[in-house]
């Protein structure tokens, strides 16, 4: 088990180096000059231009910029934004918000998927099964920004049940609406997985044995069917969590949530190389970590799986 974790972590090293290099290269190759963009329609004087270029190492060739950046990165210095803030500080401020949003969304997604999937599986081919399928497919195929705008317009503005944006108040109740919207856009896959495994599990020997022993359905369903059907749903939801962790850019933008996705988007627009790369580096680390955790979860949920 320990060896497995160590091996997975070692595998992550080239992944992190490779992604930072790629991202740095892509930001570097973005057309246009971020310094000129800072001045709008005005052209900065050559001296001002040179001073700014030197400050952000933009006058150096790509490989030198990357080297300088990686050197700083390993000494714990994530660089500074154009407004002079430490990128580490920005991350420390925005990551908890995104983490909270992702945790809330995944909790809703998981509960919805398990409950609906369980009943759909138990009533295979019946009306309930078909209705959840149709609704799930609709929610899955509608682009997320449409869901966001509809929810924002009706729930928040028209009916006044929630605040249309989050802003400074990142409390549970204020983030409820965006979290539910995210959950709605994600739950279908998990729900269908749940339904499929429930159907499969119900025909297993141990379920038939349980019924044969005379156990009532209220004991067989939760203990023998539900528990054994959870494995694929847990892993799917955990993978979704990894995706959300790296920022739901569109949702965060529409609901004005001060999270990772929103900040990253603005940094990309402004061409702030160091900010973008630092954010992406941390995101890659988070994603890799969550994936390792997901793999370990398999072993916890299914005793048949062992890692050596």
């Amino acid at each position: 088990m320990l060896m497995y974790v160590v091996r997975r972590l070692l595998q992550a090293v080239p992944v992190v180096i490779g992604t930072t290099f790629l991202i740095y290269f892509m930001v570097f190759s973005m057309p246009g000059d971020p310094i000129l963009a800072m001045f709008g329609d005005k052209t900065p004087s050559p001296a001002v231009y040179d001073a700014l270029a030197a400050q952000y190492h933009l006058d150096q060739p790509f490989i030198v910029q990357y080297g300088l950046y990686m050197k700083d990165l390993f000494t714990g210095n994530l660089g500074t934004t154009f407004s002079g803030e430490d990128v580490g500080t920005v991350l420390a401020r925005t990551f908890p918000v995104t983490l909270k949003l992702a945790a809330m969304a995944i909790t809703f997604e998981f509960i919805t998927a398990v409950v609906l999937g369980l009943f759909a599986g138990l009533r295979k081919g019946k009306l309930f099964d078909n209705i959840t399928l149709v609704i799930g497919l609709i929610l899955m195929s509608v682009p997320i920004f449409v869901l966001c705008f509809i929810a924002q317009y009706f729930v928040a503005i028209k009916w006044g049940w929630a605040s249309p944006t989050v802003g400074a108040d990142t409390s549970f109740s204020n983030m409820l609406l965006p979290a539910i919207v995210l959950a709605l856009s994600l739950f279908t896959t998990s729900m269908r997985l749940m339904r499929g495994t429930v159907i499969d599990t119900r025909s297993r020997d141990w379920v038939r044995t349980a019924y044969a022993k005379g156990l009532p359905a209220r004991r067989v369903i939760p203990v023998h069917v539900l528990r054994n059907s959870l494995i694929p749903v847990v892993t799917n939801s955990a993978a979704n969590f990894g995706v959300l962790m790296v920022g739901a850019t569109v949702t965060e933008g529409i609901f004005n949530i001060p999270g990772v996705g929103n900040t990253l988007y603005q940094a990309i627009v402004r061409g702030e190389g160091p900010t973008v790369v630092s954010f992406v580096t941390v995101m890659v680390l988070a994603y890799v970590a969550i994936n390792i955790l997901v793999d370990l979860l398999y072993a916890v949920l299914d005793p048949r799986i062992r890692y050596a």
């Binding site: 001002v48 503005i157 400074a168 402004r270 061409g271």
Partner: protein, 552 residues
Amino acid sequence: MKFSKSVIGGAALASASALVLVGCSPEGSESDSTATAGDSASTGAAIIKTNGSEPQNPLIPVATNETGGGKIIDALFAGLVYYDATGAAHNEVAESIETDDSQTFTVTLKDGWTFTDGTPVTASSFVDAWNWGADPANSATALNSYFFEQIEGFDGYNSEEGASNPEMSGLKVIDDSTFTITLAAPNAEFPLALGYSAFYPLPESFFADPEAFGKAPVGNGIYTLASADDWKHDVQIDLSVNDSYAGEREVMNDGLSIVFYASQDAAYADLLAGNVDVIDGIPDANLATFGDDLGERAVNQPAAIFQSFTIPQNLEHFSGEEGNLRRQALSMAINRDEITNVIFQDTRTPASDFTSPVIDGWSDSIPGSEVLEYNPEKAVELWAEADAISPWSGTFSIGYNSDGGHQTWVEAVTNSIENTLGIDASGLPYATFADFRTDVTNRTITGAFRTGWQADYPSLENFLGPIYYTGAGSNDGDYSSEEFDTLVDEGKTASTPEEAIEKFQQAQEVLFTDLPAIPLWYSNVTGGYADTVENVQFDWHSVPLFYEITKK
């Protein structure tokens, strides 16, 4: 120039949302906003909430060149003069600004002004601040240093790297409340510029540690940042009323909260729900409906923003006699009324000169301005005349950045040209604003390109000199006209404002003949306010006069 994304077109996130929100405009937003109005008012204090964006630079006046930080800086500091809603300048910290020759100005300060840290505002507060901004050693921070280039002894651009020259010879402190400004060349309009943020004073504490100051600025303005914690980065900044403010502008509320939004859509949603009181930007998707949504609380008025497209002087077929004919033909081939109405829902005002209607001295009847009227017959005639000199070939293109919502109007303009003149015309999109500006700055763009200008201070000269004067910083088309340069110089040295206005209008007559840029329209400021507030007035610079706003 302070630039904002909506003006210069960094990122209007609106395109996609158009589909959704246009379809569902509220029938009764009056009742909607009252539903949640109680929440914000429940604290008792009349705090005005408005929209903004996270400052992109430290909060130092001379370092702030974009609207996100500019809005905060203007609330925190008071300069020698301030501008009222109409753009007229009034003395604020200055008791008087006097000159005999439009070159040397004697500034006398009023008594009783202090910074929020208790130190007095003296002549040195201004002189030291300006010298710091003009010091070449600070040029990476002082993005607005070009404002000092008129002052004698400015060498912020021309020094050896690392060299420092902390004093401009044109600034002399006489005593604590008097100093003189000597300009490199006479400019009667110079006092008008003194209300711009680059000219704000700075307290002594700034010079000890500019970096710390940029995080917790100490000002002398109407509002103050009571603690650095009130600036919640990427979220909002809470400003409280500055009790030591000594100016004549009366504050009618208890504070100002600027909420940072990544998109205008979110700000607009908050306005409809009553979560913000005033916003100064309407998302493109809601331009058609915001008048109905907000009723008389919708704001749509011309602003000090001039939009045009520039045809470089060296572009083939566009120089000399032939060029003038073609430029005029193009201008007359554009149906500005229809485009501003159909595409912009009347949130642009068709241009009738090279400045803006909010500026004193603006006129819609400058001789030569007929070329701005849609006149297809005349356009065809002029184009044919030009063809007689040298036949036209190729495509006429207008370069633009496609991340700023410019595509629709560029297509409309090129269609209008194509249909009228029967030539090939098309837009030339660039992926990003940065990409676009790089080609414009390096003169590698192959055709005409969109240009916009937002005035820094309310003066006709500010729309002309920086853009069309020979060799000026933003003269992207490399226009050069001796006649125009002379008239601008004469306007700047005129002894009375009336005379100056006359000269600047004559200078525009030259522009109407040469058309270095084809005027298109003035951007309007679009905004609105909730029914929780009253006395909302947008100033010449498209920003609400926050101090006047009262909460119901």
